[in-house]
């Protein structure tokens, strides 16, 4: 049975539905991420799970039991706030001991558990400091230690790394992964950073304007986006208007505006004549000086219109015909990689038939 189940939950602020009809299930031990752009309702959903906000409609169930009547302090969940919310008038050790004190744990057993928790996040010597004497990363770890010390069933994290600089963020990401594995606690993680979501999660719920757009593993949502929004929000994606000409199971033949016939996959059943988009990831397109000889591959002649050097890769903007502009991404596998093509060059683009995805409208 699912650990936590969210059933058709809606929350309105004034006329605006911050969360509308959201449903999802979170399994025990999962690293589950709510991903979406700013204002899509991630925090609101998390606050309803924690018990700070009350849903206007729908239910939240823990082990199949409705939590509606349970106040936040009686839910076996803890939250790591974006601002960390460390108590400024308490030392690090007292902050970490707070949940135990509230649960009236014997003071004599307390010290050992606090010391162990400090060790878990590598802050052994920081127990007597006050939060304002800590760096951002250290505050982050104290917040984690405090939220994990009494082993909650669920840890809720609201953009916990947003305030950290890039290097520290990457380091904390791998620490979070191993911490979650070590403690075996279910994490519900909120972020607007798709890279972070892909890197950390077992499963991701992509949210848009209060609705759950798609739920799946990182590779599912990346490779098989269920709709135009997910394709566009996760990673970069070329989206070209298309229409289904013929179909054979999951394989479809499309008529793509400006390109003509292209073969692709459709993850959802569709019918001849359906309109939608062809979603094509930039890294799935090959660029060559000579036409490639792939059997079923799509290939087109194009002109390089622009390039952007990103260090590890170079992104080319390529014009096909006189109408379609697509992005293609080439790894800079050699030092010359970046200068392989120059604006104005005529090149051949190709991709395998399973590289493109057809996404239905509506």
């Amino acid at each position: 049975m699912a650990l936590l189940e969210i059933r058709h939950v809606t929350k309105r602020f004034g006329g605006l539905a911050a969360v509308s009809d959201a449903s999802l299930e979170i399994q025990p031990g999962e690293f589950f991420t709510l991903l979406g752009p700013s204002g899509c309702g991630k925090t609101t959903l998390l606050r309803m799970i924690a018990g700070f906000d009350v849903p206007d409609a729908g239910q939240i169930l823990l082990d199949g039991v409705d939590l509606a009547a349970t106040p936040p302090e009686r839910r076996p969940f803890h939250t790591v706030f974006q601002s960390y919310a460390l108590f400024p008038h308490m030392t690090v050790a007292d902050n970490i001991a707070f949940p135990l004190r509230m649960a009236k744990v014997d003071e004599r057993k307390l010290a050992a558990r606090v010391a162990a928790a400090l060790g878990e996040v590598r802050l052994q010597d920081m127990g007597t400091r006050y939060p304002n004497a800590l760096s951002g990363g250290q505050k982050q770890r104290v917040a984690l230690a405090r939220a994990l010390i009494d082993r909650p069933r669920l840890l809720l994290l609201d953009e916990p790394l947003a305030a950290l600089d890039l290097k520290l963020r990457e380091q904390m990401q791998s620490e979070l992964i191993s911490l979650q594995k070590d403690v075996g606690i279910t994490f519900v993680y909120v972020t607007h950073d798709q890279g972070e979501a892909l890197a950390l999660s077992h499963r991701i719920a992509v949210m848009n304007e209060g609705r759950v757009s798609q739920i799946g593993t990182p590779d599912e949502v990346y490779e098989f986006p269920a709709n135009r929004f997910v394709a566009d929000f996760i990673g970069t994606c070329n989206l070209l208007d298309a229409r289904v000409m013929a179909l054979d199971g999951e394989r479809v033949t499309l008529n793509v505006a400006g390109l003509g016939t292209v073969r692709a996959w459709s993850s959802r059943p569709c019918q001849q004549g359906d309109r939608g988009v062809l979603a094509l990831r930039p890294e799935k397109i090959q660029l060559d000086r000579a036409p490639s000889s792939g059997g079923e591959a799509s290939h087109f002649l194009g002109t390089i219109r622009g390039q952007m050097y990103l260090g590890d890769v170079t992104v080319y903007k390529v014009e096909i015909g006189n109408a379609v502009l697509v992005e293609a991404l080439l790894p800079n596998s050699t030092a010359r990689g970046a200068r392989l093509f120059a604006p104005g060059d005529q090149i051949y683009l190709s991709w395998g038939y399973d590289a493109g995805r057809f996404i239905h409208d509506g």
Binding site: A50, F52, E73, F81, A85, H89, M102, P131, N132
Partner: protein, 244 residues
């Protein structure tokens, strides 16, 4: 400009140590007037009254003002802030007159009790404003974090809100005490005949003659006020407010 402001104060302090009775010329240093002051039974009774009124009024005003400040913070009503801030802008003389009329209507005998009630009334707003400022500087998520980590509504108040509010409460209490001990106008209207506080006593003495004893008592009052103001100022920015 500031020199001009402080000059009279400096003169009063200096002359409180002057030997001359008439005070016009400097004839030598003495603590004589302080001895006279402490031997003056009426003056001591007035000081005692001021102290009792100040303590009782500031403690009560702190309790009610803190509750009002919490209410202001928690329920963001449109009218409540106006109700609480307006008294700060009302002239003392209006306070004095209206409280006097009110007490007379209530048939309350003017005396210590009426003065204390009057002081509580005008001090509450000062405390409430200090408390609200303190609370609005506090990170909202701290209270939620406390609840989230297992504290009940009362527990989160007891262990988080209250300790973070404490410097504000102390500052509010000191402010109320300062306002109370220095007040003349409102006390004048509500004290009746029997009760005298230090400012009232000084005023009545001046009407008779200016003696250096007045300089001495003024000096002491000034020092006390300055110490309190200093304490308030030190309390306000020093303590971490809870914003990370």
């Amino acid at each position: 400009m500031y020199l001009f402001l402080y000059l009279p104060l400096v003169v009063v302090v200096a002359y409180s140590f002057n030997q001359s009775r008439l005070g016009a010329e400097w004839t030598g240093f003495t603590l004589h007037w302080y001895q006279v002051l402490f031997a003056d039974a009426e003056m001591m009774r007035a000081a005692w009254n001021s102290l009792v009124i100040g303590l009782v009024a500031s403690v009560s005003a702190t309790v009610f003002g803190t509750l009002a400040g919490l209410a202001l913070h928690k329920f963001r009503l449109r009218l409540l802030p106006v109700l609480i801030v307006t008294p700060l802008a009302i002239p003392d003389i209006l306070w004095g007159v209206s409280l006097l009329v009110f007490f007379v209507l209530l048939n309350l005998t003017l005396g210590m009790l009426s003065v204390i009630l009057a002081h509580v009334a005008f001090c509450i707003s000062y405390v409430a404003v200090v408390i609200r400022a303190r609370l609005s500087g506090m990170d909202e998520s701290l209270v939620e974090a406390a609840r989230d980590l297992g504290a009940t509504a009362w527990g989160s108040f007891r262990f988080v809100t209250l300790p973070l509010m404490a410097p504000g409460i102390i500052a509010g209490a000191l402010l109320a005490f300062t306002m109370s001990i220095d007040d003349f106008v409102i006390t004048f209207f509500t004290a009746g005949v029997g009760t005298t506080t230090l400012p009232l006593k000084i005023y009545t003495m001046i009407k008779v003659t200016v003696t250096p004893e007045i300089n001495a008592v003024s000096t002491l009052l000034m020092v006390l006020t300055m110490l309190l103001v200093l304490a308030i100022a030190r309390l306000s920015p020093q303590i971490p407010s809870g914003k990370p």
